[in-house]
């Protein structure tokens, strides 16, 4: 069901009589159509946001100005945007894998938490390991935790016929409650009775800052690496071919002898692993260097399990294109805080605006397909003329 909007039409006939320059022009316009429509949709969504700002008694220009400069205005702002984009990108890459394999993963929230928990446990168990060993270890632990949390609904779908939308939602709830349990009981900071958080985790596991004097840490590089790995997995490996084939047509894949059930489990496991890495990065790249459950699971995940889906969709379910998409949404999140300071509109406005952007862009995609068909039709006509 999650396929790219574009339809491949017949290549223009090699008719020497046609005017090649016009065909080339129409061809050149084709990718532009692909970009212009979503761009206009974002602009329209921002206009809706402007109306909301006006209704709240704020000057929209000041608001957006604050948002833009808060998100992209300087190296510190860009660094914060990248930090916010990190979990979105990681979850988003996982979403690319799952959706391409035809599996709907709404369980990003739970998978983030599972990854964070396992990574935290590893750091608590082996605090004396040097960073060069411990940091890769916690990242792997995050991937394993998230991977397991993804594989469970995968197996339930493949072998027990349980719809993955249902099971991933339930796994979110279970993970959130489990984290709350651990932070009230087994993992709670010694001496702290009421606050749901671990102790300050070992400094050996602090994600090192990147040079440049900003808060940017190596988590960003990890996220980019995962995006590249996700790309190779999906488009440059035989496993990826199989996953995409299963997503495209499970029946044909079965006839071709592919293990469809195993593919479903693998897709959700890889998808969860990416989200799990986000969980580890969120814990060890945070300012507090603890796993904090106070304020509920959503306060920890920052809704990245859902926003990551959006980022992936904006990236056309391509891991590499999800990078700029995540950066855009990360920018909205950081910019929102600046907007709150400058024009006194609660940052919750950004979440609402985020929703509007999603709806507008998704709704515009069909329009884009139609426009493309029209352009393609022109190309074809020109080609045949």
């Amino acid at each position: 069901m999650y396929k790219e909007g574009g339809t491949d039409t017949a290549t223009p006939a090699d008719d020497p009589a046609s005017d090649p320059s016009r065909v080339h022009l129409a061809r050149a316009a084709r990718p532009f159509v692909g970009l212009a429509v979503p761009f206009l949709a974002v602009v329209a969504a921002l206009l809706v946001g402007a109306i909301m700002l006006l209704a709240l008694g704020a000057n929209p220009l000041d608001g957006y100005n604050a948002m833009f400069s808060g998100a992209f205005g300087g190296s510190d702002e860009l660094a914060d945007t990248a930090i916010k984009a990190m979990p979105l990108l990681l979850v988003g890459v996982g979403i690319c894998i799952a959706f391409r394999a035809g599996v709907i993963n709404i369980g990003g929230e739970g998978q983030i938490i599972a990854g964070a928990i396992l990574a935290t446990i590893v750091a608590l168990a082996m605090p004396d390991l040097p960073g060069i060993v411990l940091i890769p270890l916690i990242i792997i632990a995050g991937a394993v935790g998230g991977g397991i949390w993804g594989a469970i609904p995968g197996a339930l779908k493949a072998y027990a016929g349980v719809n993955e939308i249902l099971s991933t939602i339930m796994m979110n709830i279970i993970a959130a409650q489990f984290m709350s349990f651990l932070l009230q009981d087994l993992l709670i900071e010694e001496g702290a009775i009421r606050i749901q958080q671990t102790e300050r985790l070992t400094e050996n596991a602090d994600l090192p800052l990147l040079p440049g004097g900003t808060r940017l840490h190596i988590g960003v590089l990890v996220a980019l690496l995962v995006a590249v790995l996700g790309y190779f997995l999906l488009f440059r490996s035989s496993l990826g071919v199989r996953l995409r084939a299963v997503g495209h047509n499970p029946h044909a894949s079965r006839y071709a002898g592919m293990p469809v059930k195993l593919s479903v489990v693998q897709a959700l496991a890889f998808s969860g692993a990416c989200a799990g890495v986000a969980g580890a990065v969120l814990v060890f790249g945070s300012e507090s260097h603890r796993l904090i459950g106070e304020g509920g699971a959503a306060a920890f995940t920052q809704n990245a399990g859902f926003n990551g889906i959006v980022a992936a969709l904006f990236g056309g379910l391509h891991p590499l294109a999800t990078v700029p998409a995540s950066f855009f949404f990360g920018g909205m999140l950081t910019g929102g805080l600046e907007m709150q300071r400058e024009v006194q509109v609660p940052a919750a406005m950004i979440l609402a605006l985020n929703g509007v952007v999603v709806v507008f862009v998704v709704a515009s995609l069909k329009l884009r397909t139609r426009l493309r068909q029209w352009v393609d039709g022109e190309i074809e006509r020109e080609g045949l003329a």
Binding site: M1, Y2, L56, I104, I106, L156, A160, G161, V162, N163, I165, L166, S167, I169, M170, M171, N172, I173, I174, A176, Q177, F178, S180, F181, L182, Q184, D185, L186, G296, A298, N303, F306, N307, I309, V310, L313, V345, P346, A348, M349, I350, L351, A352, L353, N354, G355, V356, V357, V358, V359, V362, A363, S364, L365, K366, L367
Partner: protein
Amino acid sequence: MSEFFTISVIVTTLASGIRLATPFLFAALGETVGQRSGVLNLGVEGVMLLGAYAAYYTALESGSATAGVFAAIVVGAVMGLIYAFITVVMHAEQGISGIGIFLFGLGFTDLLFQKQVGTPIPIRGLRDFDVPLLSDIPHVGKVLFQHNPLVYVAFLLVPTLWFVINRTTFGLNIRAVGESPDAADTLGVNVNLTRVAAIVIANTMAGLGGAALALEVGVFQQNLTSGRGFIAIALVYFGAWRAVGVMTGSLLFGIVSATVVQWKTLGIVEGGTATLTSMAPAVLTVVVLVIVSRRIGQPSALTRPFDRTA
């Protein structure tokens, strides 16, 4: 444990389980109608939040909980029209636009709450209505017939929806456009109009679910629903797109939740363990689904937009 197995405690638990099930039931029944027509709405959570806030704010300002219920109905219906436009007219990808609606509802209600109310001021919910005669039946009366009107409405909607879906032309149309829109179209059923109607019903009921929650809790806060809308969607799958199945799931979820709460109050489970038992409803839902049935599939045309020219 023995203190739990007394008649009065069990009666209280069952009664509160039914109350806890009500928001789920509204939202899940609505989503059932929507999905039967072939439209998936992952934005139930957002619409519930909007309905909850509308009910809360209206009740706070007017002093009337009933007015709050109607405000939630209006907000739900408006969201239904918007969602119908997005999915039926614009053919937008349903899963994703639903998440957009969720994010919008989550952010927008928080925004309005901070701007319009600020601190959570409690409101008076709907008054309980004791059904004459029936509420006097020992124990049973307290479990079933001493609730606020919304609880009765929710449970009366179960047979009503069963009847509408299975025994009326409108219901037949809903099922037809959900299973085979092209065939329905050739028979003269207006596919898109039927879907719009189903979506409006679905969202109105999600809004009502939010109202039931806000009026039961008596206060609004950021993310009041905390995942209930998503659970409601899961319950639709649990109930295999049947009103009675959805009711069973809602009751299972509500009663298990109420039992956990009761155990905490009685001190049977404490601290962290209490939190651990809070995951029981979610675990049970999955386990039951693994054990019970895989016979019934989802509506064939679920998430597939209808385009006559395609």
